[in-house]
């Protein structure tokens, strides 16, 4: 159990500013997800918490204690590395067992604990193999098992599921969520997959170029993205972001006319989620254009229409069928949210 506080931390690699000065508090028992595109500083942030990377300035506090100068082994952290970092000369069993051995657990308990953990990540049949004899996904599961075999104060997980196939990823996701529920250990989880972030997180920190641009619950981030970047990053398919202008309380652009609560203004971006639009026969509907693409996803069909530079996607019924290039109209569902952003700054207007 531990609260982690990053106070005004900053990380430079030479002259390159990887993480600009900022603060972040990770509450006790929280599952915090760092979400952002590749190269945005997620791994760097995590490595600073782990003590593997010196911080250029600022303080890291765990349980209220400043631990800047504590070596990793004294921080009571377990970590899943993005690159696994397995012990190639040890078998899978020895890999998973190693942290327990270092903590002086007796042999019999170690054996049980390893078996139990291996079963959780479906590795029990591979215990006597060496990492070089495993597939990428299996190696990743060894890395995961090695972290969850003990109960530290803090879990750090750097894209721990990125190399698993889709099915196992969903299973492991549920496993991790359950594990967190069971142990209640403070967890920092890094991913570039917004779906993983949404499903796992107590709170999500969306990062961009080293900076946390929004920190909130998944629900809030989905409902009220702080800026254009977050709006485009969260949700699948991503939010429609339509360029236009507001005049007389109406947002207008080619094929789109939506009443909004905003003063006259140019360079406005209207955001609306595909799942909050529906197809209509009404030719006077708010959004109109020609059908551009139909993609059946199984439970629904993604309908994309175009009108000039405007392109809008909606999630329609799985049975929906129409000819490409035929006219098509969309209306916002009841309770749909319009998000308005400033094109230039990306800031949220409403």
């Amino acid at each position: 159990m531990a609260e982690v506080r990053l106070v005004d931390i900053e990380k430079k690699y030479g002259n390159f500013l990887a993480v600009p000065k900022q603060s972040l508090t990770i509450h006790d028992g929280e599952f915090l997800v760092l979400l952002g595109p590749s190269g945005c500083g997620k791994t760097t942030t995590m490595r600073m918490i782990a003590g593997l990377e010196d911080i250029t300035s600022g303080d890291i506090m765990i349980k209220g204690e400043r631990i800047n100068d504590k070596p990793p082994k004294d921080r009571d952290i377990a970590m899943v590395f993005q690159n696994y970092g397995l012990y190639p000369h040890m078998t899978v069993r020895q890999n998973i067992e190693y942290p327990l051995k270092l903590r002086g657990m007796d042999k019999a308990s170690r054996k049980d604990r390893v078996m139990e953990t291996a079963e959780k990540v479906e590795l029990d049949a591979l215990l006597e193999r060496r990492p070089s004899e495993l597939s990428g996904g299996q190696r990743q599961r060894v890395a995961l098992a090695r972290a969850i075999v003990r109960t530290p104060s803090i879990f750090l997980m750097d894209e721990p599921l990125s190399n698993l196939d889709a099915k196992l990823r969903v299973t492991m996701r549920a496993e991790l969520k359950h594990l967190h529920h069971e142990l209640g250990v403070t967890t920092v989880y890094v991913t570039h997959d917004q779906m993983e972030a949404m499903t796992l997180a107590s709170r999500v920190a969306v990062m961009r170029e080293g900076r946390i641009v929004q920190l909130d619950t998944p629900k809030k981030i989905y409902a009220e993205p702080a800026d254009l970047f977050v709006a485009g990053f969260i949700g699948s398919p991503s939010m429609n972001l339509i360029d236009g202008a507001v005049k007389g309380g109406v947002f207008r652009t080619d094929g789109v006319e939506v009443p909004v609560d905003l003063g006259d203004r140019d360079g406005v971006v209207l955001g609306i989620r595909p799942e909050e639009l529906e197809i209509t026969q009404d030719t006077d509907a708010a959004i109109g254009g020609k059908l551009y693409a139909l993609e059946l996803t199984g439970e629904s069909t993604l309908v994309t229409l175009r009108n000039g530079p405007t392109s809008v996607c909606a999630r329609g019924h799985a049975d929906f069928e129409a000819d490409i290039d035929s006219p098509c109209h969309l209306v916002p569902k009841d309770g749909a949210r319009f998000h308005l952003f400033d094109r230039a700054s990306g800031e949220r207007l409403r």
Partner: protein, 271 residues
């Protein structure tokens, strides 16, 4: 047709090189089993004998004590040089200390000094210390010669090991020394083994310092060879027998490296 010609040419060249390289060694091995009267003959038709090996181990040659000296000097040198060098190499490879590049260059630069230049100071030094003709003196000198080289060699191997596994071990609760013992050394084992054998060979074959610093008690095998050049002429068959004694252990070690340590130890550590 053209291809076959090129192939044949290549083969012929390789064969020629091999013959030139192997001839002296083959000659030595054959001569070691010849009687004195056959020593200069190139004919393979001679009556083999083990007498030479018996002779070199008995008076006045007493090769036994030289074998002992060589084994002790080389083994102790390796046992001291390699662990020290491994730790030094690890530090050079992993710690970003100020001036480490210069320090590393300094260590390497010891290798640029011709041995002949420093052999006399060494001689004077050991005479002052009353350590001439002792194995300890030879061990100290060999350590000085070999350690920088071994540091450089092991550093190359450690540089090639990704740091991820080490970091994982530190998170798992290992101290730096524990990491070195449990993770780095096993992963670097092939390199360290290879370096050890190199170190052994260098010391085993070392001639100049042993020649100057030893006289009777601490004489090593390579120096011992010289004693077969007598006023009665060069005793080639005895020299060859002693040569075989020098070569065979090295030969066996080379085979050992090939068999056990060519396999990489880092496979599977990272993505």
């Amino acid at each position: 047709m053209k291809k076959t010609l090129a192939y044949l040419g290549e083969r012929a060249l390789l064969t020629l090189i091999s013959v030139v390289l192997l001839f002296p060694i083959a000659w030595m091995f054959l001569t070691a089993f010849k009687q004195p009267r056959d020593a200069y003959s190139l004919s393979l038709n001679f009556e083999p004998t083990l007498q030479n090996f018996v002779t070199v181990f008995s008076d006045p040659w007493n090769l036994g004590s030289m074998v002992m000296n060589s084994v002790i000097v080389a083994t102790v040198t390796v046992l001291i040089a390699v662990p020290c060098a491994a730790l030094a190499a690890y530090s050079f490879s992993r710690f970003r200390v100020k001036g480490r590049k210069f320090l590393f260059f300094l260590i390497l630069s010891t290798q640029f000094i011709p041995a002949v230049v420093i052999v006399l100071p060494f001689f004077l030094m050991f005479r002052q210390l009353d350590m001439l003709d002792t194995r300890l003196a030879l061990i100290i000198v060999n350590l000085a010669i070999v350690t920088p080289f071994v540091i450089w060699m092991i550093k190359g191997f450690i540089d090639a090991i990704p740091t991820d596994s080490e970091e994982a071990a530190m998170i798992d609760g290992a101290s730096r020394l524990r990491v070195i013992k449990d993770i780095v050394m096993p992963m670097a084992a092939p390199g360290i083994m290879t370096s050890s054998i190199f170190c052994f060979i260098l010391t085993w074959n070392e001639f100049l310092f042993a020649l100057i610093l030893s006289r009777r008690d601490a004489v090593t095998l390579p120096v011992g060879l010289v004693s077969f050049r007598t006023e009665r002429g060069d005793l080639w068959e005895l020299m060859s027998a002693a040569g075989v004694m020098i070569t065979v252990p090295i030969f066996i070690m080379a085979l050992f490296i090939q068999k056990h340590f060519t396999r990489g130890m880092t496979a599977g550590a990272v993505k």
